[in-house]
Symmetry: C2
Subunit: 356 residues, 2 copies
C-alpha cells in the first residue's frame, strides 16, 4: 500500500484551504489584523482594549484594518483568557409564567445596554435544576440573577460566595436582593375589601417554597388581626391558571366573600371556574390578584390586582449585579432594593353580598 505523505500545513494555509472548501469566509482574528499591519497580535489586542498603551498612529492603522476585515472578537477566547465571560445568567422558575416576561425583558434591555449577554434558564420550579444551573453558570457567566429562588438560605449564601448573585423576590441576609413590596400592597388590598364590607376573606396561598407567599401571608394575617377581620389561609396552589379551579372551589366551600390570590394566574383561573359554576364576580365573590400580568386587564371581569413594577425590577437587579461586577464607581452599591407596588382596582371586586 502506498503511503501518501501529507505535508504539514501552516495555520494560514489550512484556513485558506478551509475557506476554499466551504466557500465560507472565516471570521477575522487579531492575527489577521496583526499580519495586515505588520505588528504583533498582542499589540492589536492592546490597541483594541487598552488604546492608551499604543501609539495613536499604529492604533489608527489597526482600527482601520479591523474595520476592513469586519473583525469581531471571539467571546469564547476572550472569556478563556480574561476570566470574564460578558454573560449574565437569569434563572426563572417557569418561562411560560407571564410574570417573567416583563422581568426578562427588563434584564435583557439593561444587560444589552451594558454590553452583556443574557443566558436565560428555566429551572422548572425545581431546586435541583436551580442548583445545577447555578453550578453550570458559575463558569459561563460573570454573575447570576435568581428569581423566586427555591433554594435554602444556606445554599444561596454558599452560591453567592462563589459567584456574584442578585436575587429577586427572595431576601437572604448577605445576598443582594430586589424585593417587590407585595406584602404592603396586600394590606392595601385587605383595606380595599374591608371598605367594601367584606369580613370573611381568604388568602389563596402559593407554593410552600415561595418566600413571597409566606411574607405576603404574614403581612396579611397581621393586618387582619389589626383590623379585626377574619382571614383564613387556603392552599397551597401552584401558580398556574389550572390551579384556579381548585382555589375557586376551596374559596366557595369555605364560605368567604372575597379572596386575595397569591398571583394573577391563580386569580384568573378562579374567575374562569367561578363563572363555570355560575357564581358571579364581584356580586357573589370578590377576587384580588397580584402582579398585574399580561391578561389581568382583559379577563372577565377585569382583575383587581396589586401592580408591580416588574420590568423595572429586572433593570434594577441588573444594575445591582453590574455594580458588584465592576466596583469601580465608588458608589454605595445598595444590597437591597424595595420596589413599590400599588393596588389597581378593576371589576373583580365589589361590595360584599348581603348576608342571608
Amino acid at each position: 500500500m502506498a503511503i501518501v505523505t501529507v505535508p504539514v500545513l501552516s495555520r494560514s494555509e489550512r484556513n485558506a484551504m478551509a475557506m476554499q472548501a466551504a466557500g465560507t469566509e472565516r471570521p477575522a482574528t487579531i492575527h489577521d489584523i496583526a499580519a495586515m499591519c505588520g505588528v504583533a497580535a498582542s499589540t492589536v489586542s492592546r490597541a483594541l482594549s487598552t488604546p492608551d498603551r499604543v501609539n495613536i498612529r499604529t492604533r489608527a492603522r489597526i482600527e482601520a484594518a479591523a474595520a476592513e476585515l469586519n473583525y469581531t472578537p471571539n467571546s469564547q477566547a476572550k472569556a478563556l483568557s480574561s476570566g470574564r465571560t460578558g454573560a449574565v445568567g437569569v434563572l426563572v422558575p417557569d418561562i411560560t409564567n407571564p410574570f417573567y416576561f416583563d422581568l426578562i425583558r427588563g434584564t435583557q434591555l439593561q444587560l444589552k445596554a451594558a454590553g452583556y449577554t443574557q443566558l436565560l434558564v428555566d429551572t422548572e420550579e425545581s431546586d435541583e435544576v436551580e442548583a445545577s444551573s447555578m453550578e453550570q453558570l458559575r463558569k459561563s457567566a460573570d454573575g447570576i440573577i435568581v428569581t423566586a429562588s427555591r433554594l435554602s438560605d444556606e445554599a444561596l449564601l454558599a452560591a453567592a460566595a462563589k459567584i456574584p448573585i442578585v436575587t429577586i423576590n427572595r431576601d437572604v441576609a448577605g445576598v443582594p436582593a430586589v424585593v417587590i413590596d407585595t406584602p404592603s400592597a396586600t394590606s392595601q388590598a385587605l383595606d380595599h375589601l374591608i371598605s367594601l364590607g367584606h369580613t370573611r376573606i381568604a388568602y389563596m396561598a402559593g407554593p410552600l417554597t415561595s418566600q413571597s407567599s409566606t411574607l405576603r401571608w404574614n403581612a396579611l394575617a397581621a393586618a387582619a388581626e389589626d383590623r379585626g377581620v377574619e382571614v383564613r389561609r387556603l392552599g397551597p396552589f401552584a401558580p398556574k391558571t389550572q390551579s384556579g379551579a381548585a382555589a375557586a372551589d376551596a374559596a366557595v366551600h369555605s364560605g368567604v366573600t372575597a379572596c386575595i390570590a397569591f398571583n394573577d394566574l391563580i386569580a384568573i383561573g378562579m374567575l374562569q371556574r367561578l363563572r363555570e359554576r355560575g357564581i358571579r364576580v364581584p356580586e357573589d365573590m370578590s377576587v384580588v390578584g397580584c402582579d398585574d400580568i399580561f391578561g389581568a386587564d382583559f379577563c372577565n371581569p377585569p382583575l383587581t390586582t396589586m401592580a408591580s413594577p416588574i420590568e423595572q425590577a429586572g433593570r434594577v437587579s441588573v444594575s445591582m449585579l453590574l455594580a458588584q461586577l465592576n466596583p469601580l464607581a465608588g458608589g454605595g452599591s445598595r444590597s437591597r432594593s424595595l420596589m413599590p407596588t400599588h393596588l389597581t382596582v378593576r371589576g373583580s371586586t365589589g361590595p360584599a353580598p348581603q348576608s342571608l
Copy 2:
C-alpha cells in the same frame, strides 16, 4: 528605593494562593484530575470524551477522581479548542409577545434534553438587531433558530451559508424551516364566518415585513374569491394589544361584520376597544384571532382563534437543527416541516347581524 523581587509562581501555587485569598474553591480542571491520577491531561480528556481509547482501569480511576473533585468541563475552553460551543441561539422579535412563550419553552426543553444551551435573543422587531445578533451568534453558537425573520431572503440565505439555521414561520428556499400552517386555518376561519352568514369581512394585517401575514392574506384572498365573498385588507397593525384599538376603529368604519386578525394580540385589543365603544361581540361584530395564545381563552368574550401547536413547533425546529449539526444518523433530515392548525371556536364569533 528598594526593589522587591517577586518570585515567579507556578500555576498551582498561584491557584492555591487565590483560593486562600478568596476563600473560594476553584473549579477543578483536567489538570487537577491528571495530577491526582498521575497521568497526562490529554489522557483525562480522552477518558472523559473518548472512553474507548483509554484503558478501562485508568478510566475508572479518572472518573472517580473527577467525581471526587466535582469536575465540570469548562465550556469556554471546550468551545475554543473543539470549535463546537454546545449552544444554540434562538431569535425572537419580541420576548413579551405571549406567542413566543410556548415556543421558547419548546426549544428550551428540547435543547436541554440534547445537552445544548439556549441563547435567547430579543431582536426588538428590527432587522438590524437581527442581523448583528446572527453575526454575533455565529461565533458563540453552533446553530440558530430564527422566528418570524425580518431579513430579506438573500440575507437569510447568506447567513445560512455561514452557520446552520432553521427558521420558524419564514419560508425561504434553501433554508430549513418550520412553518405553522395558518394560511389553511385562515380558510377554515373564513368558511366559519361565511357559515354564520357574514359576507363583508376584513383582514387586519400584521407588519408588512411579516411573511406570515402576507401568506395568510394571500390564502384568504384566494379563498374569498373562490367563495364569492368580499374580504378587504386593513392595516398594517403592530402585533400588540395596543394596536387593537386602531384595528377596531378601522373595522367599524369599513362597515364589515366580521374580522380575521393577524394574531390574537390584535384581536384581544380589538375586543377591548369594541367593548369601550359599546359595540357588542359577537352580536354586532365577530372577531377571529390567530395562535391561541395565553389569554385567548379567558378574554371577554373568549376568542375564536386558529390554534397552533407552538411548543411543538419549537421542539421540531430544534430537532431539525440538531439533525443539521450531527448528520450522523443517516436519516433524511427534512428541510421543511408544516405544522397543522385548526380553528377553535369560542364566543367572539356569532351569526351576522341582520342587515338594516
